[in-house]
């Protein structure tokens, strides 16, 4: 049955935490109160991507796009938009220039985007398989089962040029083909949903908004390589994604799209969920497989590659969530179509989690080859608070910085590697002039120290040494020899570490050293942190604005400020712990930070 209006409410984790659930309930109640339940369907969808302005509500066919909606706005949306057909201006998006945009096409954030992976996110109810099917869902599986041989599927994947979206960008068809060619009674298909990169959440949103796309793709791969069992390895920290996957799997089984003799064919395939338990190293293929086997997630040397000898020593295809989500579209629309998007060597799109000091945080999907400038300024709306752009970190703890100089470089796998960074899973963290490059490098290194599994010494000892040296520099005790050591240790780790984690762990240090050498020198020679982030290098002083109100002296937790009432106060630098309480409390702008 078709409805006259559809009200779509974002049900992604970000928006759910901002009371999207209450908005959904209130909208349903208001629709019922108005007697419109036969004309209006209220749907809870996956992520719209525009997380900065969430929760988001969209009304179709009007295409009215409402941002920062509150549960109490439900009544007005129903009365105005649904009954009277008017836009609630108050809830529409207003851009920098004050222009109100009531439809998504007019919003800068969406204009340069192209949604393939996120095609269904924000459009369908992820808990209803019928809505996925209505959007051509499972058509690719059907086509593969009845019209294509496994070799033809491989060929189509090859033409598409799809490369793994988990980080390294290995051609997907090659992985599949390796596994296909191995003779084995049992083979496995694995989905890597252990999204551990701090600052990336595209896999979470894909699974929450469109879980069937991943199930369908895994079944296609199963048919292609001759596997009957799949595993989804997902972070236990993603309860909503797990729940939606479980619902999706149950519905798919009910429809005969998973299980014995899928769609009446000879092909049988089923999927089980295995939970991760918070270990970044488990994003590495061999460590992930060890974890599915119930063991400590430690990597093993490659070769043998999992494609040949993987889970329980059987040939195993592992791809990440975003890679999987591309597969059904490639089959239905053809590899040629996919290859026509993006750049020659990196086809298709990439989803980035654009966060940090950016105006429009959120998930953005753009064709490969889009420049950083387009992403940061056209889509992201530029830097928050009028500050100056400093750099973007891509690839999280495995990647590096891209500076203002390279802002016009088209982004694809190879250009990022050439720039000393990597695609990684697609985290894109924007930094402004208030961020210290050494502080950020230290942050990532601390992460790697904690996450190193400890199996190989280049990583176990190397990450710790790098962290210690960075700490020393951030405290103003660094020397020029330290810089040489950073490089030497970093290069050694790249060559000698056992797995991807250790080999890429020095990247944030090496790339920041390369592009921000002068900032390292400042910390060492001038004992200065221009961003004011390295606490040991900051000095607070009191200037002549001081009226002697004594407030700072009373607030100081270590009692290092002294002075007579109505006289200028002074700070005892030997005792000061640089907590900044004095500056925060001063009403006369009398505290200076240098």
């Amino acid at each position: 049955m078709a409805y006259k209006h559809y009200v779509l409410v974002c049900g992604g984790t970000g928006c759910e935490s901002s009371k999207a659930d209450d908005i959904f309930t209130n909208l349903k109640t208001e629709v019922a109160n108005a007697g419109l339940e036969h004309d209006v369907q209220v749907v809870k969808t996956g992520c719209f991507g525009f997380c900065e302005k969430g929760p988001i509500v969209k009304v179709l066919p009007e295409d009215a796009f409402y941002v920062e909606v509150k549960p109490s706005d439900a009544e007005e949306i129903v009365k105005e938009t649904l009954i009277k057909g008017r836009i609630v201006k108050r809830l529409a998006y207003v851009d920098e220039s004050g222009k109100t945009s009531a439809v998504p096409e007019e919003i800068g954030f969406y204009q340069k985007q192209m949604r393939i992976v996120l095609r269904n996110c924000g459009l369908i109810d992820p808990e209803k398989i019928d809505e996925y099917i209505a959007r051509d869902g499972y058509a690719a599986l059907e086509k593969v089962l009845f019209e294509m041989t496994p070799d033809q599927v491989i060929e189509e994947m090859k033409i598409s040029g799809l490369r793994g979206r988990g980080g390294a960008g290995f051609p997907t068809w090659m992985k599949w083909n390796f596994t296909k060619q191995v003779e084995s009674d049992v083979k496995y298909i694995v989905c890597n949903a252990d999204e551990g990169d701090p600052g990336a959440y595209m896999d979470r949103s894909t699974l929450e908004g469109d879980p069937h796309s991943v199930l369908e793709a895994m079944a296609i791969a199963g048919y292609t390589v001759g596997a009957n069992q799949g595993f989804i390895y997902i972070r236990a920290e993603y309860p909503l994604a797990i729940k939606r996957l479980e619902i999706a799997m149950a519905q798919a089984r009910e429809y005969g799209l998973l299980g014995q003799n899928i769609l009446g064919s000879d092909f049988s395939f089923d999927i089980e969920i295995r939970l991760g338990a918070g270990a970044f190293v488990c994003g590495e293929e061999t460590a992930l497989l060890a974890s599915i086997e119930g063991k400590r997630g430690m990597p093993t040397p490659k070769p043998p590659f999992p494609a040949v000898c993987g889970l329980w020593k059987k040939p195993t295809v592992i791809n990440n969530v975003e890679t999987w989500a591309n597969v059904p579209v490639i089959i239905t629309k053809g590899g040629k179509w996919f290859a026509s998007i993006g750049t020659e060597k990196s086809s298709g799109t990439k989803v980035f989690a654009l966060t940090g000091k950016i105006k429009n945080s959120g998930l953005v999907e753009v064709p490969m080859g889009t420049t950083l400038r387009e992403i940061v300024y056209d889509i992201g709306g530029g830097i928050k608070g009028g500050k100056a752009f400093k750099a973007v970190q891509t690839g999280g703890p495995s990647g590096g910085v891209i500076t203002a100089k390279m802002i016009d470089t088209p982004i694809d796998f190879d250009n990022l590697v050439a720039a000393g960074s990597m695609m990684g899973s697609g985290g894109m963290i924007v930094m402004d002039e208030d961020d210290c490059i050494i502080d950020v490098a230290k942050f990532y290194q601390e992460f790697c120290v904690e996450e190193s599994c400890g199996k190989c010494s280049p990583c176990r000892i190397g990450t710790r040494k790098l962290y210690d040296i960075l700490t020393k520099i951030s405290e103003g005790k660094g020397t020029m020899e330290d810089l040489e050591q950073l490089k030497e240790i970093g290069e050694a780790m790249k060559r000698a570490a056992l797995c991807g984690l250790g080999q890429t762990a020095p990247n944030p240090v090496l790339s920041s050293l390369h592009y921000f050498y002068d900032e390292y020198l400042e910390h060492i020679n001038e004992k200065k942190c221009r961003a004011g982030k390295c606490k040991k290098l900051i000095t607070y002083t009191i200037n002549d604005n001081c009226r002697g109100c004594t407030l700072c002296a009373r607030k100081c937790p270590v009692n290092c400020i002294s002075g007579e009432v109505r006289q200028k106060h002074t700070i005892d630098q030997t005792k000061c712990i640089k907590c900044g309480e004095c500056m925060k409390n001063c009403k006369f702008d009398a505290i200076e930070k240098r």
Binding site: T13, G14, E16, S17, S18, C51, E52, G54, E195, G196, D197, P198, G199, A200, Y201, R204, A236, E237, Y238, R274, L275, G276, A277, G278, A279, F280, S291, I292, E293, G294, K295, R296, G297, W312, A353, T355, G356, K357, S361, G362, L363, Q393, G396, G427, I429, M431, D435, V440, F443, Y444, F447, C453
Partner: protein
């Protein structure tokens, strides 16, 4: 001479059934430990011993796994677990200040539990709501765009 250790930890019927169901499946240990932790909030020594007994595997193997993964807890957490996100986006936007302020307010260190057992404090790596940075999660509730000074007020709602 090793003495046989006994445990008096009691598992619910549901948990026992779950373990029985998974007992023969390869790679079951992590899934079972998740279930144990969801019942008790942590994995006590007694619970670990009981799992070892039920699966007939060495206790050392269980501790090897529990201590490897950050998600598994060895100590009983507070009634309300406060997770301050220290993912990159949250870190850049002041996650550390929130963590410090909360620790100061509750007078406990990170990973500590308050004396009355009401709160425990953790720093976590990315909860996947980077658009809302900085983020704090208390129980199942997510708080976005948090300022350090808001923490006492947020916590007050959980103090009953």
């Amino acid at each position: 001479m090793p003495t046989e250790q006994k445990t008096d930890t009691v598992f619910s019927k549901e948990l026992e059934n779950f373990i029985a169901e998974w007992k023969e499946k390869p790679g079951n240990l992590i899934m079972i430990l998740h279930k144990v932790q969801s019942e008790f909030g942590y994995i006590s020594r007694g619970a670990a011993m009981k799992v070892a007994e039920m699966l007939d595997i060495p206790l050392a193997k269980i501790y090897g796994v529990i201590t490897f993964y950050h998600f598994f807890k060895l100590n009983k957490p507070g009634k309300n677990v406060i997770q301050v996100c220290m993912g990159t986006a949250c870190y850049l936007k002041g996650g550390q200040a929130i963590l410090d302020e909360t620790a100061k307010h509750l007078n406990i260190p990170v990973k500590g539990v308050t004396e009355d057992g009401m709160f425990s404090l953790e720093s976590v790596r990315c909860v996947g709501c980077c658009g809302l940075a900085p983020v704090v999660v208390i129980g199942d509730e997510v708080f976005g765009k948090v300022l350090p000074e808001q923490m006492p007020e947020i916590l007050a709602n959980f103090s009953e």
